[in-house]
Symmetry: C2
Subunit: 208 residues, 2 copies
């Protein structure tokens, strides 16, 4: 972000209509929006607070993202897809492949990512447009990663006979249990390890 042009813009108030919008500060604004979602949940995120944290003028934010939903949708879309969707882990066992996704360093590693996704789940419930963005950007790609890992296990003969038809549904179990709302606050890594060991692998009869 260009701090000089930021403060000059703040000092001069609204930009003249027609002057092209400078997008160079967008990534920082969207990152702050995600941080706030993770810290406080959708309800407590305001454009005022984002303006305060980024040092941008409120008018600048409102011109670019007229509503909170617009801003949050842009932030979700900026998250991108999990790196495992582009390159499947292949670590030797189905179990360690699944755990490589759970332990991915993406978005700051498992703990920060789980808190962030908890914020996204909150946001998705309030705004149907945010829900679409979360489904498209996060949930569907994750189900896809798990399904690809389990399909590969099937192709390698690691799934028990007669369990092939369960693969698409079992691929949804980890994302589903991540947002189950049973615990107070977000679930931790050890919960996912248990889901892999006690539900996913046994449901498909996968050993190791």
């Amino acid at each position: 972000m260009d701090a000089a042009s930021e403060s000059s813009e703040a000092a001069h108030g609204a930009r003249r209509p027609g002057r092209p919008y400078d997008h160079s500060g967008d990534p920082a604004i969207l990152a702050v929006t995600l941080d706030l979602l993770a810290e406080r949940g959708y309800d407590q995120v305001t454009l005022d607070l984002v303006a305060l944290r980024t040092g941008r003028a409120k008018t600048t934010l409102y011109r670019r993202w007229p509503t909170k939903a617009d801003l949050v949708v842009a932030a979700v879309e900026a998250v991108g897809t999990p790196p495992e969707a582009r390159e499947l882990p292949d670590t030797g066992t189905v179990r360690s492949d699944l755990l490589a996704v759970v332990d991915s360093p993406w978005l700051g590693g498992p703990d920060r990512r789980m808190v962030l996704f908890d914020g996204l789940v909150t946001a998705a419930q309030v705004s149907p447009r945010v829900a679409d963005a979360v489904r498209t950007t996060v949930t569907t790609p994750y189900v896809g990663v798990y399904e690809a890992l389990l399909d590969r296990a099937l192709a390698r003969g690691q799934v028990s006979p007669g369990r092939a038809e369960a693969v698409p549904l079992v691929a949804q179990v980890i994302p589903a249990m991540a947002s189950r709302g049973l615990a107070e606050g977000p679930v931790g890594r050890s919960y996912f390890v248990d889901v892999v060991d006690l539900v996913v692998l046994p449901a498909l009869g996968i050993v190791g």
Copy 2:
């Protein structure tokens, strides 16, 4: 509800302080609140709309439930616990016991109940107090019902050797997948049948 006293109260405006509140209309108001949650989700439920649908004066509603969260928490608490929590189904097989819970006529049967619970999940995400009420009233009792059914199967020797430790986690799978947010709109009965047949029973090695 007493229609005569309702219209008289609406005509006279606010009740004098100190006059005892008449609770006889509460169940109808809470039922309408649940209907609206199911139809529109938390965001679209307003005390104005509840007043309109029930024919009660807005001032009466505000006096009893000062905020929307108060009203929705009361509505969730009025749902009560699933009847299966008081009397476990015992139909002959673990599968048909689990499906008896899925197919329960409680709260209007599976289709209406799934739409309603979808509305509760929405509400829970917005208000931590509503989230607590949903967890206490709905989610935890349901996990308890499934856990009791699976514990009984374990006691009857129907769970595969070595799978006992998975029972508490597997008991969370059905409630978790009910609110997974992967589908557009609420999931239907056939989805739960698949979750039972392709995830829950195989994860515990239960046959029938």
